[in-house]
């Protein structure tokens, strides 16, 4: 059938591309960037084709090599897998951004490896999103995590290696926790296929299943940096090169959330456990994350550190929505996976441009940069307004759905907490905008710097426009997510 091999292209191209990068860039390091961009363009094409297929014909499966499960490897393309679209979008724009950025920010001999790791990380994420088998889930998780640890350390600046090590230890523990859970589930059911698992889990003993769920939750919560498991995130995300921060903050933490969604899909379908307690915990941790992330962000002067803490707040939104276990709540959480990726990528890439052009990374040093780099600053302003959830930007819809979800689940308190938490977030973003626009520069020479090169400017502008467009045309992600969520909650009568 036409286009049936797209899944292979999606998964294999980045791996092959990554392996070839150091060879291709042997003589000229800068070639690596173009090669990576080219490779990932093919991947993006495949992702676009597959997303379109999901859109037109609904959920479908692909068997690697034609082997049907339980022997073969199943790739399952459902609505949540459509996140490959956003992974490729943000990934592609970040790679484009790297063309201008990597030259100065990354030591030349590491550039080929940098691009190879980027490809691995993004490719792993695509695999994670589409696999239909929990063990492959783990394998892809490890591919992207290992690439992520290395990417954090790649500049070799300051505490980069230390941050990477901290990230690695936390990440490895969480991966092992997930592996443990997979082992338990396998020994309970004898299958690794998610669809099978959902069926067979329904008549196993609840206690070991609960242990597995706890281990899985723990693992994914560390990956997603839910408070209080976030301690690795701020250093790693702020010290990494900006396009990497964009990918880590926008996409890699979402892996944890996506994993949780997959777990909930299985658990709701099998109904092996009463999830009320788990949902309550997630809800509370989500609410606390929102507030704590905002409070920490407020005292930061380093712009990337501030953005990193803001990620923790936003992960709080998503977990709050998940924990509500109501249709609107989960819709809000899922839509926020998409929207936050776009918004946070816009902010991190924008911040990267500011740092790249001015050489300063503290808000107190960046004063007046709004006049020097109007387009970048405007894009950051759009991102900031969007992440706070001022309508009609992308962030608003999520806030609205999660608030509706809280009311739907009869938990008005969480709606209040969410909305006031958003306000708290605004306090520190307004500090940033004040510094950019309404304060006299503390370093007069900052007014002399110009906009970043086009390869860096274009991705930021595209993302900023998307921040607006995704708000106004909010139905597009929604049309994907809504049926999936309704399907998912159908067994518990959602």
């Amino acid at each position: 059938m036409y286009g049936t091999q797209w899944p292979v292209v999606l998964l294999v191209t980045p791996l092959v591309g990554a392996a070839l990068t150091p060879i291709i860039a042997r003589r000229r390091a800068q070639l690596a960037g173009y090669w990576a961009l080219f490779t990932f363009s093919i991947v993006s094409l495949a992702a676009a084709a597959l997303t379109y297929q999901i859109h037109t014909q609904g959920e479908f499966s692909y068997y690697m090599g034609g082997w049907a499960p339980p022997i073969g490897i199943e790739l399952r393309f459902d609505e949540f897998s459509a996140s490959i679209a956003v992974i490729c979008l943000v990934g592609w724009l970040s790679l484009l951004y790297c063309l201008g950025y990597a030259k100065h920010a990354i030591p030349e001999r590491r550039i080929p490896y940098f691009y190879a790791l980027m490809l691995l990380c993004l490719g792993g994420m695509n695999g994670f999103a589409v696999t239909g088998d929990i063990f492959n889930l783990f394998v892809f998780l490890e591919i992207l995590s290992l690439a992520g640890y290395a990417l954090v350390a790649i500049t070799g600046d300051g505490i980069a290696e230390l941050a990477a090590f901290k990230y690695l230890v936390m990440g490895a523990i969480s991966s092992l926790s997930i592996l443990l859970a997979i082992g338990i589930m396998y020994s309970l059911t004898g299958t690794l296929n998610m669809t099978d698992l959902a069926v067979r889990l329904s008549d196993v003993e609840p206690f070991p299943a609960a242990v597995a769920v706890a281990a899985l939750t723990l693992g994914f919560c560390v990956k997603a940096a839910l408070f209080p498991l976030h301690i690795w995130l701020p250093d790693a995300h702020s010290i990494a090169p900006s396009p990497v921060s964009a990918v880590l903050s926008g996409l890699v933490v979402k892996v944890g959330v996506l994993g949780m969604l997959r777990m909930f899909q299985i658990l709701y379908a099998s109904q092996v456990l009463d999830l009320t307690a788990l949902n309550n915990v997630l809800m509370w941790l989500g609410a606390i994350s929102i507030v704590m992330g905002a409070l920490f962000a407020m005292v930061q002067d380093d712009i990337k550190m501030m953005l990193a803490y803001s990620t923790i707040s936003n992960i709080g939104y998503i977990f709050l929505g998940l924990g509500l276990a109501s249709t609107y709540g989960i819709i809000g959480a899922s839509v926020h996976i998409f929207n936050h990726a776009i918004i946070k990528a816009c902010l991190f890439l924008g911040a990267g441009s500011l740092i790249h052009q001015t050489g300063y990374r503290k808000l107190s040093d960046l004063r007046g940069v709004g006049k020097a780099m109007p387009i970048t600053s405007a894009a950051i302003a759009v991102g900031a307004i969007s992440i706070v959830g001022i309508p009609p930007t992308a962030g608003f819809l999520c806030k609205w759905y999660i608030a509706l979800g809280a009311i739907e689940a009869d938990r008005l308190f969480f709606a209040v907490a969410l909305l006031f938490g958003a306000l708290l977030i605004f306090v520190y973003y307004i500090r940033m905008l004040n510094a950019f626009y309404f304060m006299p520069p503390s370093h007069p020479e900052i007014l002399e710097v110009g906009e970043a090169p086009l390869t860096m400017l274009i991705p930021i502008v595209i993302l900023a426009i998307l921040c607006l467009v995704m708000g106004i045309f909010g139905r597009i992600p929604l049309s994907f997510i809504e049926p999936a969520v309704i399907n998912m909650l159908a067994p518990i009568g959602g």
Partner: protein, 492 residues
């Protein structure tokens, strides 16, 4: 009769494009003036072109897109929205002329005029919003767009005022959003096209809490005490901003929001059964009197104006809360009346500041000998606030009093209105007295008026105050429009 028409969409879009163009032309003064003025004129024409239809009972609507299921970005022009839109777009034109003169020497003029246009865009958006979410969307955008105007001076004081403004108004926004979400859950719609969408079956307690949330949310911008703290501080903004935004657009957006909630979300019938608006009326009465008393103690001209605004806005809230047709009529008309009176005063304050550098009232002795036309306009506005017949303020007071008498224990509110008139006289007449009669020895009639760009808008507004008072019953004047709105909401 509903008519699909693109004009309700074009009206906010026009100012939006104007704002973008102003940003684009940057510091090129001539082009900036050209775009600002022509957009203001075209927009006014656009809004007025819908007036005859609306007076005939036509309703123009345009649905742009559905951005969440069941709720779209949709516009709908009914009489009440038309009323608000006419007031704000007329005053936009006048204020643009004034601002061009006033901001001559200022920095960052592109930013100023750009956001100025965006604010008007959002205000018209609020006026024409078809549903509560569209209204909220523009309500929040208004907050964001006014912030750069409030902090325009970039002084520490301005930054502090800006912060205070944002905290107050965004907190209010949270309550509105919460209210929207709960309303959507209970009513299944957020449409503002009928007189009441909430079912009474929800229960008294829940509805009362919801009403309180809306009142707090919109009350922040309407500056109902004790939510008024931001308004006096925000007076650090340049005079045209204070004039248009803090006497017209922002504060009226709050009052307009309360009207929409009372008339379109809850509906008069439901609120009468609930019996909670009496609390709102009491709160408004307290605000009217207390703010007037505070105003008497203020020496800074603009701060006195700010407290006067707080007091006057509660007339509108009071009129809405009384839930009688005549009181509602008074309230709606007061949107226009207060706007023209207050903008005259702000223009005067700005003109005096620009021409003589004086900002305090005790410095104004004999100013009438220097700027007779400006102070003449001021006198007209002052008489309007006191409620002297033939001025706009009289019409408001007359209908509010009539409406209050229809309500239970209405005489209390009539007493409040009379007290307020006396207090208004108490703090505005001394200014007039100082200007014309308490002349420092040796002052001669030495006319040194403000620049014409400042003077002409002031005089136009003053003339309008008298027109609104003397020819209120002429068809096409605001009163007729307000009457159409009231007839719809009360089902008359």
């Amino acid at each position: 009769m509903e008519v699909v028409d693109i004009r309700p969409l074009l009206a906010p879009l026009l100012s939006l494009f104007c704002g973008i163009l102003v940003f684009a032309v940057g510091e090129r003064t001539w082009w900036r003036r050209f775009w600002s003025l022509s957009a203001a004129v075209v927009k006014l024409a656009l809004v007025y072109s819908m007036l005859p239809g609306v007076l005939d009972g036509k309703i123009y609507s345009y649905s742009l897109i559905e951005f969440t299921p069941g709720i779209g970005l949709a516009f709908r022009v009914d009489a009440l929205g038309m009323f608000f839109a006419i007031v704000s777009s007329s005053l936009w034109l006048i204020t643009t002329v004034y601002a061009i003169g006033y901001m001559e020497q200022e920095h960052e003029r592109a930013r100023f005029f750009g956001f100025f246009a965006l604010c008007v865009s959002t205000t018209v958006g609020i006026a024409f919003a078809e549903n509560l979410l569209t209204l909220f969307l523009f309500y929040e955008m208004l907050t964001i767009c006014t912030y750069p105007l409030v902090v325009h001076e970039e002084t520490p004081e301005a930054m502090k005022a800006g912060r205070k403004y944002l905290v107050y108004t965004l907190l209010g926004g949270v309550f509105v959003l919460l209210g929207c979400a709960v309303t959507f859950q209970w009513a299944g719609t957020l449409s503002l096209s009928t007189a009441g969408i909430l079912p009474a079956s929800v229960g008294k307690q829940g509805l009362s809490l919801l009403f309180a949330a809306f009142v707090i949310g919109f009350g922040v911008k309407a500056a109902i005490m004790p939510l008024h703290g931001w308004l006096p501080s925000a007076m650090v903004a340049p005079a045209p901003v204070s004039a248009l935004l803090h006497a017209v657009a922002v504060v009226k957006a709050g009052a307009f929001g309360i009207m929409r909630v009372v008339f379109c979300v809850f509906g008069v019938e439901l609120l009468r059964d609930l019996g909670i608006t009496v609390w709102l009326a009491a709160l408004a009465s307290v605000t009217i009197v207390l703010a007037s008393i505070i105003a008497m103690t203020q020496d800074n001209f603009k701060r006195r104006l700010a407290y006067s605004t707080i007091s006057q806005l509660s007339y509108i809230v009071l009129g809405v809360a009384l839930l009688t047709p005549l009181a509602a009529l008074g309230a709606i008309v007061h949107i226009a009346n207060q706007a023209f009176q207050k903008i005259t005063m702000f223009f005067v304050a700005g003109a005096i500041q620009r021409t003589t550098g004086r900002t305090n009232i005790h410095e104004l002795g004999g100013i009438g000998y220097q700027m007779p036309f400006t102070m003449g306009a001021f006198t007209v506005a002052a008489l309007g606030f006191i409620g002297v017949p033939l001025t706009a303020g009289f019409i408001t007071k007359w209908y509010l009093s009539l409406g209050a008498m229809e309500a239970e224990n209405g005489w209390v509110f009539v007493v409040v209105l009379i007290t307020s008139s006396i207090l208004n006289a108490g703090y505005w007449l001394p200014v007039v007295y100082m200007a014309f009669f308490k002349v420092p020895p040796g002052t001669h009639l030495h006319i040194k008026e403000a620049h014409w760009t400042l003077l002409i808008p002031t005089l136009i507004c003053a003339v309008y105050v008298i027109l609104l008072g003397s020819f209120a019953e002429v068809p096409g004047m605001p009163l007729s429009l307000a009457r159409t709105a009231v007839e719809f909401f009360f089902g008359l």
